[in-house]
């Protein structure tokens, strides 16, 4: 089974976030970059599924030249090759534009004899959270689509059984291929790269194309920072002497009754 995984280069944030001068992006000074955690899980699922079926994994991204780092990171953990659709201004691409670009790659590759049986994405990107590309891509390709998926297993009939957490509990789908599946983190532990994997990634083939002009007309306008929740820590004390203060707090928040 040949699998295409679509990933996005995002700032690797942990604590407070500041916006850049345009208001449409994150101030990336001092920040590293990574792929979204849903996508890390998608890569992990792709590697496992490809290994089980004797297939290959190709990773694709639309992003700046530096996004090759994220492609190589995916190769370092087991993907075979990468496709970089390069643009200096990724923020100009709305979800529909991205879906269009990916769809074109899938069609072009099919014409040249490389078919992808399965296209994996993350549910949404860590920085923009649009939650749209998967379904728009499926629509564009005319494929069935699943979202919120956490684990995959190939079926005997050549399809995929996919599981995810739905509102009522575990949802189990069986889908024929080709298909688009949007992954939600939590079903698998993404592996770390090995040294040899990293060395292989350095030499892995990355096909590079220039991105077309975005045409769908729904780019990001601006970002807004949510109100920062103030958190403070009060040390109640140390050892047995702290017990009465702890009891007071537990009573105050209603965990125990006086």
């Amino acid at each position: 089974m040949n699998i295409l995984v679509c990933i996005k280069r995002v700032p690797d944030i942990a604590g407070s976030v500041t916006l850049d001068d345009t208001g449409a992006g994150i101030d990336e000074a001092g920040l590293g970059h990574t792929m979204s955690s849903h996508e890390e899980c998608a890569v992990e699922l792709a590697i496992g599924t490809a290994a089980a079926t004797g297939g290959t994994v190709t990773v694709l991204t639309v992003g700046p030249a530096e996004a090759v780092e994220q492609l190589r990171a995916a190769v370092a953990v087991g993907a075979n090759d990468g496709i970089l659709i390069e643009t200096a201004d990724p923020a100009a691409f709305g979800p529909e534009d991205i879906a269009q670009v990916i769809g074109d790659v899938v069609r072009d590759r099919a014409e040249s004899g490389q078919t992808f049986d399965l296209v994996l994405l993350g549910d949404d990107a860590a920085d923009t959270g649009d939650f749209q590309v998967g379904i728009r891509l499926a629509y564009d390709l005319g494929y069935p689509v699943l979202s919120n998926i956490q684990t995959l297993s190939p079926t005997d009939s050549g399809g995929i059984e996919a599981r995810g957490i739905g509102p009522a509990g575990t949802e189990i789908f069986t889908v024929d291929l080709p298909a688009v599946i949007a992954v939600h983190e939590g079903g698998v532990d993404p592996r770390y790269p090995s040294i040899t994997g990293r060395m292989k990634a350095k030499r892995a083939p990355i096909a590079e194309y220039d991105a077309p002009e975005p045409s769908a007309g729904n780019p990001r306008i601006r970002l807004e920072l949510p109100e920062v929740k103030q958190s403070s820590v009060t040390v109640l004390g140390e050892g047995p002497e702290a017990a009465p203060a702890l009891v007071d707090v537990l009573e105050e928040i209603g965990v125990i009754r006086p």
Partner: protein, 837 residues
């Protein structure tokens, strides 16, 4: 929210290994009302200590660093946070093996057990290392790892338990108030603290804090990349944090260090990656910690392959994953050593910055002692914050030199190696002439100084074998036989030396005599026009400096000292002036100095002046202004090369004219330009002249270096009591000059020691003096007039016997030496007839 004390005896900024060690030692020394702040949380506030690899190799070429490391290891052991693992420095090349032989010399000199071992012996202890990749290794069994965060916590708590310390984490310093040049107040996010002292021990952020007081701590945050890979089955089999020796793969500038079931691989091989202190992320916005910056894969990729070569079995295992990877920040200074002591810019601003884990507790103790009574037991003068000349504090200089220095961390650095970056900062007025003479420039304090002149190559023929040429590449790197030829030409005829790099300052005012009298060991109440060479002692009777002082008037004294240490001397004097009546003026950039020495010096000087320069008319040890052409020149008849002659001082802008006048007049007398190779080494070593930082330091007394005078002046001076005690006691060590009797190595090549080598007995036993110090070469150099290579070394008194046959160990071979002087008697011209002719 806890408030902060309104007053403190000292505010310590930083709760890493250095700050924590400092509060501990200050409390031990009796300090109370200490306040320690850190902008991060405890126990790991997010600085460099928190991500350090925490291993310690005790052997360093620097005695000062080794002393601090050994003291730190002792402290870590006392705290119970030291685990001995042993460590290898492995060599992949023959060039590195030579460096490891030098390492052995340092180990022997500092008395640390080490040995050179074969690849098979390495593989025996580290079975997953491929012995085929290496040619040998340097093994130190006492290498180990520490828990620096735990150690810091224990030290901090010890100060707290004494009631001496208030700790305030999550507290950022926002401003520092300075009044009349002194610290008066520190502003923090939790309130103001009135204090006279702030101790900056916050590593990479230190420049930012110092800048709040208008001062500088010259360092740059720099990236050291590290990854941690695991789980490694071979490591997981054994219990505990570390059970295999640490391996420094010296030629790839990397190390491999076990950490439980993981292997840490650190690199000093990547491009220098500097950051600005202000650009380091806050604790809130950092993904890991502020000093664990995002890893840049492409910088580390080349090291991965080299690491796999060395430990293929472990590192090419696909199950072994890269679980942690950082661009860790550490602090680098423009010249290498740490930045310790009170700032010369603001009173009460103390620095303890750019310190590694292996020196942290030792530095904490030394700086605490320094703050308390001014006398750190371990001499840390090489790290004194006062050492920097103004240009060395600039961002451009700091960035240039830290960039250049980063890859030297595991590099093979020749003792005379010069910096390439940020040169030509201070040029003497004669610089263009010197370039025309094809001078080879070495740098000191930013000054470009001719080390020798290629234009003197013709002298090689004149002096033939006497120039003592060296065939071994290492011995002759940063060296030329022309130095020795210039020396011989000076001794035979005359030499002209550009001494513009002298640090010169005047002490003047009605209390000037009292001031210098109190600072100098020698009698300063001398007639006007006397030049006095004097040791400068600390309260313990150890050397703070040695320099010359000219009495120019009843109320004016001119101090002349060297470029390397002169800025420290300036602060030493400035700090010890009386409250009123004496001032100090730095005239370094006002005066240039030209040295004229040699048997023809008088003839040459007489040719350009009508002044009486006869022996009777211009006695040794005197100075006065003479007219040379249209210049007024302050001539001082002294010599650091041991020959007849003068130091000639003129305003900087007239230096070129004086140089040209002397040069022209000297032509018929065979005058040659002479570089600092003669002035700094050959000239002084055959005269037995001591150099500060080599022979002279705070540990050895005036008596032990053979410089005590018949009488001690009756006036009080700093260090007098201690000096009197030293004179009564038997010396614990004796500074000697030794000659090398045979230079022939096992390969038949003649080898020449460069300094730092151990001296051992005739049967190879170590020699240890009464201070517990092993004997080692403090200075080495050609003595061309004697046809000998001369070494200076402190020997145990019983060994300090003329004619005593000992050995020097160079590159792990033994060469016979003979003790040739056991006091300051010169090997060349012992009666000083030349100087006094």
């Amino acid at each position: 929210m806890a408030s902060i004390p309104a007053q403190a005896s000292v505010v310590v900024v930083g709760a890493g290994i250095v700050g924590n060690s400092l509060v501990h030692h200050l409390a031990e020394l009796g300090w109370t009302d200490i306040v320690q702040v850190d902008k991060g949380p405890l126990p790991n506030p997010g600085g460099s200590t928190g991500h350090a690899s925490n291993f310690i190799f005790p052997v360093d070429h620097s005695r000062e660093i080794t002393d601090l490391t050994l003291d730190s290891m002792r402290q870590y052991k006392e705290l119970g946070v030291f685990t001995e693992s042993g460590g290898f420095e492995v060599a992949r090349t023959e060039e590195r093996m030579q460096e490891l032989r030098r390492r052995m010399a340092s180990a022997r000199a500092w008395g640390i057990e080490s040995e050179l071992v074969t690849p098979a012996e390495v593989a025996e202890k580290v079975p997953f290392l491929d012995p085929e990749v290496i040619v040998g290794a340097f093994w130190t069994p006492t290498v180990g790892v520490v828990d620096s965060v735990r150690a810091g916590t224990m030290m901090r708590e010890s100060a707290e338990s004494k009631g001496a310390l208030t700790v305030s984490p999550n507290t950022e310093v926002t401003g520092i108030d300075v009044e009349d040049g002194r610290i008066v107040r520190v502003h923090t996010t939790k309130g103001e603290i009135a204090t006279e002292r702030i101790l900056v021990a916050c590593g990479v952020w230190s420049p930012r804090i110092a800048a709040m007081a208008g001062a500088s701590i010259p360092l740059s945050p720099a990236v050291h990349q590290m990854i941690s890979v695991g789980p490694v089955p071979q490591l997981a089999e054994r219990p505990g944090e570390i059970s295999f020796p640490i391996v420094r793969d010296m030629d790839t500038f990397c190390y491999e260090r076990q950490h439980g079931s993981d292997m840490e691989i650190g690199s000093y091989a990547h491009r220098p990656i500097l950051h600005e202190p202000d650009d380091i992320p806050s604790n809130e916005s950092a993904k890991l910690s502020p000093t664990e910056m995002p890893f840049t894969d492409e910088d580390f990729d080349p090291q991965l392959e080299q690491a796999v070569e060395l430990m293929p079995e472990v590192l090419s295992n696909p199950e072994v994953e890269i679980r942690y990877a950082i661009n860790g920040l550490l602090s680098l200074t423009p010249d290498g050593p740490a930045v310790l002591g009170e700032s010369p810019e603001v009173k009460g601003l103390w620095s303890a910055a750019a310190v590694w884990i292996k020196e942290g507790p030792g530095v904490g103790r030394a700086v605490a002692e320094w703050m308390t009574h001014g006398l750190p037991e371990i001499d840390v003068q090489a790290a004194d914050i006062a050492r920097f000349h103004s240009h060395q504090r600039t961002r451009t200089h700091v960035q240039a030199r830290t960039s250049e220095g980063f890859n030297k961390t595991y590099g093979i650095v020749h003792p005379a190696e010069q910096w390439n970056s940020d040169r030509n900062i201070r040029l003497s007025p004669m610089h263009e002439r010197e370039k025309e003479l094809s001078a080879v420039f070495f740098e000191a304090g930013g000054w470009e100084r001719p080390q020798w002149y290629e234009s003197n190559a013709g002298l090689l023929e004149e002096f033939g074998e006497a120039v003592m040429d060296r065939s071994a590449e290492w011995d002759s790197r940063w060296w030329s036989p022309i130095i020795n030829a210039e020396h011989l030409a000076l001794r035979k005829r005359a030499g002209l030396v550009d001494l513009s790099s002298f640090v010169i300052f005047d002490v003047f005012g009605p209390a000037a005599l009292d001031a210098v009298q109190r600072i100098a060991l020698a009698q300063m109440d001398v007639t006007i026009g006397r030049v006095v060479y004097t040791p400068i002692l600390d309260e313990g009777g150890g050397f703070r400096s040695d320099l010359t002082i000219m009495r120019l008037a009843h109320d004016r004294f001119r101090v002349v000292t060297g470029a390397a240490h002169g800025m420290v001397d300036l602060k030493w004097f400035a700090d010890r002036l009386p409250e009123t009546g004496a001032q100090i003026a730095d005239l370094t950039s006002s005066w240039t100095t030209i040295g004229l020495w040699g048997p023809r010096a008088r003839d040459i000087l007489a040719a350009v002046t009508d002044a009486d320069v006869s022996h009777e008319g211009f006695r040794f040890g005197t100075c006065r202004t003479i007219e040379i052409d249209s210049l007024e020149v302050l001539a001082s008849r002294i010599s650091y090369v041991g020959d007849l002659g003068w130091e000639l001082y003129v305003p900087m802008e007239s230096g070129l004219k004086l140089w040209d006048l002397l040069f022209d007049a000297g032509r018929e007398h065979g005058l040659v330009p002479v570089g600092l190779g003669v002035y700094g080494t050959t000239g002084r070593i055959e005269k037995g002249y001591r150099a500060f930082g080599a022979e002279l330091d705070s540990e050895r007394s005036v008596v032990e270096v053979g410089m005590s005078r018949p009488k001690v002046k009756p006036q009080d001076f700093i260090g007098r009591d201690a000096h009197l005690r030293h004179r009564e006691a038997e010396p614990k060590t004796v500074l000697c000059s030794l000659t090398v009797d045979d230079h022939t190595s096992s390969s038949g090549e003649k080898r020449f020691m460069l300094g730092g080598e151990p001296i051992v007995s005739a049967n190879g036993e170590p020699l240890v003096d009464g201070h517990g110090r092993g004997a080692y070469v403090t200075s080495a150099g050609s003595a061309p007039s004697l046809g000998k290579h001369v070494l200076m070394a402190f020997l145990p008194p019983a060994e300090a016997v003329l004619g005593n046959r000992l050995q020097v160990v160079y590159m792990e071979e033994f060469y016979p030496v003979t003790v040739a002087s056991v006091d300051s008697t010169s090997l060349f011209d012992p009666e000083n007839e030349r100087i006094r002719s």
